[in-house]
């Protein structure tokens, strides 16, 4: 009977030392087979690690492990050789870099799952309902998933016979297999910004370089295979020729020969391809006076948009022309006009030309007008911006000018939020891309998608939604709260994604709210809780701020939601996926609904 005592004693020790995370950890499936994990899946530097034995037991590989830590994974058509603690692997003799080295964790060898998925051409899918990662044959990258807001049913079981090619509604493809991308076509679209579309089969990373002598823009497309295309000669004020060539076995190089060095903007299309736009060229800037009205004149390929700031002591008017390149260098000249004493022009940012007028008496810009082909004039009102505004208001009262109204989404049906007007504010936009991810994803694009989904959810629940922008356009941080108050909004919800100075480390969701406002705080708490529940990223809590520009011009409950970190490679992949964007929008919507239902009188 002593043996029985000993066995029991061992059982107690076992029960005490059993890893407690097992109950809460992720499951792993290969196809429809659940992998019986002995330890919870670990994550290292943002990469999920899976045990090596999964290769043998679920993926049909043969394993050879030497005492020196050399690992051979032999498949019928390929052999992968890795070495413990080394961040490289050989596949059929070709060396690949690993994000994380194979290593020993909790007594077993673990390897990065993304690399394996790439080599075997598998997708890695996260199924939220099961809290499981699934390695399976590739499917389209989350497509169709979210476009359809009707999808409501969530299969509770992976094996619940989903149609081939369709994912359960709550699953997210977090890593697709690398496709062979090749350059399909270079399309010159022209226009005032000399637009060019580089047609690629799927999304790729890229690097750009603006070079001089001769002036040219070089874009290296990473991971693009196949043949280069013949050069394209174009008749354009800026671009003369577009060439492509193979730079190395992983990189295709595109060179734009330019007549003059200029700023540019590259916009990746999520479905593949890059759009390149060059800045407006600004030349012959000067000041003059006509009938007592001072005006700025310049030549440009098209009318640029500008922002202005009026500064006191000394009195200056600063005009920033957006998406422009100054041709002919900076300028700093005295002028002898009644109101203006000096003109300074410089390329302030790569895509912004700054014009500074040193003033003797205050002036304010009126509307930009075209004065002959390619020539523009900006007349000034002699007076302070306030006086100019009053003057313009008076003018508008006499001569009502059609003004672009903010986009309003009327309630789609009666619902729990009927009677509520909600301002949805997608951060950044237009010339301001916001944060930029590893793959070149722009914050302005991600947050617009999430905001439009959010607006649709809210309208379905009976709310009237006013967007501060509903397309890719620049709206200043001061106009945003104004749009909300003009529409009589009851709540202000700004949607952003985050970034950190050290890229690729910080992760998670946080919500900022107007400080010293208990209602905003309750709204933030409710939205943060529901959003974190929906997208299961790390909860970075809610934070009170009294210095956010968008909270300043309004006194309604206001929050700013930072859905995730765009500079973290894994979160970037999620934030780009329409399926994830929809889930995030639904989380924010549920938070708003819960806040309203719990707090309405």
């Amino acid at each position: 009977m002593k043996r029985a005592t000993f066995v029991l004693f061992c059982l107690i020790i076992l029960a005490l030392s059993w890893p407690s995370q097992v109950q809460a950890s992720l499951k792993l499936f290969v196809g429809e087979d659940e992998v019986q994990l002995q330890h919870p899946l670990s994550m290292i530097n943002g990469n999920f690690m899976i045990p090596l034995w999964v290769m043998e037991q679920h993926l049909g590989a043969k394993l050879n492990i030497s005492s020196t830590g050399n690992i051979q994974v032999v498949f019928p058509d390929q052999t992968i050789i890795m070495q413990l603690d080394q961040e490289s692997a050989q596949v059929n003799g070709v060396t690949h870099k690993l994000d994380v080295a194979p290593q020993i964790s909790a007594g077993e060898i673990v390897i990065p799952v993304r690399f394996i998925a790439d080599q075997l051409g598998l997708s890695l899918v996260f199924v939220q309902d099961l809290m499981a990662l699934v390695l399976e044959p590739p499917r389209a990258f989350s497509d169709g998933l979210a476009k359809n807001l009707e999808i409501e049913e969530t299969p509770t079981n992976l094996a619940s016979q989903v149609d081939p090619g369709e994912l359960p509604a709550d699953s997210i493809v977090i890593h697709g297999p690398q496709e062979e991308t090749s350059l399909r076509e270079i399309v010159f679209m022209g226009g005032s910004r000399s637009r060019v579309f580089i047609d690629l089969e799927s999304y790729t990373g890229y690097q750009t370089n603006l070079l001089t002598n001769p002036d040219r823009l070089v874009i290296d497309l990473l991971g693009v295979h196949g043949e280069a295309l013949p050069p394209v000669d174009v008749d354009d004020p800026l671009v003369t020729r577009i060439r492509s060539s193979r730079f190395n076995d992983q990189t295709m190089r595109i060179v734009f020969d330019l007549k003059t060095s200029t700023g540019y903007q590259v916009t990746p299309w999520p479905e593949g391809g890059l759009e390149v736009e060059f800045n407006y060229l600004l030349t012959s800037i000067g000041l003059d006076e006509r009938e007592g009205t001072p005006y700025l004149h310049f030549e440009s390929t098209d009318a640029p948009t500008f922002e202005m700031v009026y500064l006191e002591s000394p009195s200056r008017l600063v005009l920033d022309f957006l998406d422009t390149t100054l041709v002919g260098g900076a300028k700093d000249v005295p002028v002898n006009l009644e109101h203006i004493q000096r003109l300074r022009v410089s390329q302030h940012l790569p895509s912004t030309t700054r014009v500074v007028l040193e003033l003797k008496k205050p002036v304010a810009p009126l509307a930009l007008a075209e004065d002959g082909e390619g020539r523009f004039i900006l007349p000034f009102f002699a007076g302070t911006p306030q006086e100019a505004k009053a003057y313009l208001t008076k003018l508008a009262a006499v001569q009502p000018e059609p003004k672009a109204e903010p986009e309003i989404q009327k309630p789609l049906k009666e619902g729990p939020l009927s009677g509520l007007v909600i301002a949805v504010d997608p951060g950044h936009g237009g010339s301001d891309p916001g944060a930029i991810g590893y793959q070149g994803t722009f914050e302005k694009d991600v947050v617009l998608e999430i905001s439009l989904y959010l607006g649709e959810f809210l309208a379905r629940a009976g709310a009237e939604v006013v967007y501060t922008r509903d397309r890719d356009v620049y709206v200043s941080i001061f106009e945003r709260p104004e749009i909300a108050s003009k529409a009589g909004a009851h709540l202000f919800v700004s949607v952003h994604v985050n970034s950190h100075i050290e890229k690729g480390v910080a992760r998670g969701t946080e919500t900022l709210y107007r400080a010293k406002d208990p209602v905003s705080q309750v709204l933030a708490r409710s939205v943060q809780d529901e959003l974190v529940k929906a997208i299961t990223l790390i909860d970075r809590r809610i934070w009170a701020r009294d210095d956010l520009a968008i909270f300043n011009g309004t006194d309604i409950p206001a929050i700013l939601v930072e859905v995730g970190f765009l500079d973290h490679p894994d979160e970037e992949v999620l934030l780009r996926a329409p399926g994830f964007q929809k889930v995030a929008a639904e989380g924010i919507y549920k938070g708003i609904e819960r806040f309203y239902l719990e707090n309405k009188r």
């Binding site: 500064l311 301001d432 950190h500 100075i501 050290e502 890229k503 500079d567």
Partner: protein
């Protein structure tokens, strides 16, 4: 029967342990990465020696954390400390790459610091990074030689915001809400 009693006691303990384990669920989302933190500072501060804090963000963007430097704080020294960046691993720079302090001037209790355009052009964006950059600068300098507020300038211009979130068009005071402790 002595062993029977012992067996009974063990059975009871086993049932108790299993019950407790089955009731106690760990939080699902919390990922804890064990971090070994070296002692308080690379330079040991001796008793009575003067020292001052310079604030840097943690790698995970949670907080600004003071890193103490030996000596008497001056505006020049703190600006140099900010440019040089943190000495600890797990802390990251406040300033985006290549950012330099071009000039500074003190008017009353307000310190005007004129940064190179890299403060904006090389800034990664995101409200968290913006908060940490601004208050990394402000918190480190407030308190030095009678500085109560800091006005950030870029290319000698007063901006509305650096990257679109926080207002910096007026002098800012210290923000205590984002100072955290670490390695606890």
């Amino acid at each position: 029967m002595k062993w029977e009693r012992r067996l009974a006691v063990l059975v009871v303990i086993l049932i108790f342990v299993l019950t407790v384990r089955s009731l106690w669920f760990p939080t699902r989302d919390k990922v804890e990465i064990p971090v070994t933190v070296s002692p308080a500072s690379p330079e040991l501060i001796e008793l009575g020696q003067p020292y001052y804090p310079v604030y840097f963000p943690t790698e995970d963007a949670e907080f600004l954390v003071p890193e103490f430097r030996i000596g008497q704080a001056t505006i020049e020294r703190v600006l140099k400390d900010l440019e040089e960046g943190p000495r600890f691993p797990f802390l990251v720079s406040v300033l985006p790459p290549q950012t330099e302090v071009v000039s500074y001037a003190k008017q009353g209790s307000v310190l005007f610091i004129n940064f190179s355009h890299h403060l904006v052009t090389n800034h990664p964006g995101g409200s968290r990074a913006e908060i940490l950059t601004i208050y990394g600068i402000v918190n480190s300098l407030v308190g030095v030689e009678g500085v109560e507020k800091v006005q950030i300038l870029v290319n000698n211009e007063r901006l509305h915001t650096l990257v679109g979130h926080l207002l910096v068009d007026e002098p800012l005071g210290k923000d205590y809400s984002i100072i955290g402790a670490w390695g606890n």
